[in-house]
């Protein structure tokens, strides 16, 4: 399948948000500037449209990102239920996706390539607690870094 071609708009969004005074921290957490800008944008939109935004989910997102080594920032989305979702994805559609449901509960969707490229991606969906994801880190670590294939 061809990859998504979202080619215009918002190329400078992160820089624009920074100049508009994006908070430098969320509850004391120091986040990657791109993530900070994206979270700020989502928070602003939720406020403007009066849609739910879970502070518990935001707290878990920041805790996870602070404790997880990565060099490539994840895509960040705000779901209809007010929870944040972070998704690392590569060109082969392998992914590590985490919906932070608050109180340390995380809903994960992993897609991994198999040894045989003729077989479809393996899929793993699970609900787990934030501290337990540290044990799983080796299995998805390579998706969190630039140049991951």
């Amino acid at each position: 399948m061809p990859t998504i071609a979202v080619v215009d708009e918002a190329r400078d969004l992160e820089a624009t948000n920074t100049s508009r005074g994006v908070p430098q921290d969320f509850g004391g957490a120091t986040l990657h500037p791109g993530i900070r800008a994206r979270v700020f944008e989502l928070m602003q939109d939720a406020r403007l449209t009066n849609e739910p935004l879970s502070q518990l989910s935001l707290a878990d997102l920041t805790t996870f990102l602070e404790g997880t080594p990565f060099t490539k920032r994840p895509a960040i989305f705000l779901l209809d239920n007010g929870n944040f979702r972070a998704v690392w994805k590569n060109a082969d559609n392998e992914q590590a996706a985490f919906q932070f449901r608050g109180d340390g509960v995380v809903h994960c969707v992993f897609f991994y390539r198999r040894a045989s490229t003729k077989l479809p991606l393996s899929q793993e969906t699970l609900v787990d607690l934030l501290p337990n994801l540290r044990d799983k880190y080796p299995s998805f670590e390579r998706l969190l870094h630039d140049g991951a294939a």
Partner: protein
């Protein structure tokens, strides 16, 4: 228009559909659309709504413009219109998730009270889980793999 369909018919495999994607599901900097955008909302009867692109004649830009004119939602700046192929999406979900889905033709009548025009291009994707269910996110992510391209929801 490539085919005459009756309500409830499957869209032709070779044709395409557009789905409006809210900007909260678009991380523009990373060119990524989240799978949750393709899941069913409680207000969407039958399944997530799509527009059948080939219902309209003309070039892609004209067809997209026709769909914009019929919208029943307020499109957001930085929202996107994502294009998927009917047959590819159907096969992908069948092969990857053992889930038989189909794009069902579902023309909408005019609603004068709400100032909505009739939308003869409307379709929905059947057998899609509702948003915020454990199986839903994986299915949504698989549908997102089928996005061929996307355009700004609002014309420049």
């Amino acid at each position: 228009m490539t085919a005459q369909l009756e309500p409830g018919d499957s869209l032709p495999s070779a044709d395409h559909v557009l789905r409006y994607v809210r900007r909260k599901f678009v991380d523009s900097v990373l060119n990524q659309i989240d799978g949750n955008a393709f899941l069913s909302r409680p207000a969407e009867h039958g399944g997530p709504s799509f527009n059948w692109l080939e219902y309209f004649d003309g070039e892609a830009a004209e067809r997209i413009e026709a769909i914009r004119r019929l919208r029943r939602l307020s499109y957001e700046r930085r929202g996107r219109l994502a294009r998927l192929n009917v047959g590819q999406t159907r096969e992908y979900l069948r092969d990857r998730a053992a889930r038989p889905v189909d794009f069902i033709y579902d023309p909408l009548a005019e609603d004068a009270e709400r100032n909505w025009l009739s939308d003869r291009s409307h379709a929905f994707l059947s057998n899609i889980p509702e948003i915020d269910t454990p199986e839903g996110e994986a299915i949504g992510d698989l549908i997102a793999h089928c996005v061929l391209e996307s355009w700004p929801a609002l014309a420049a």
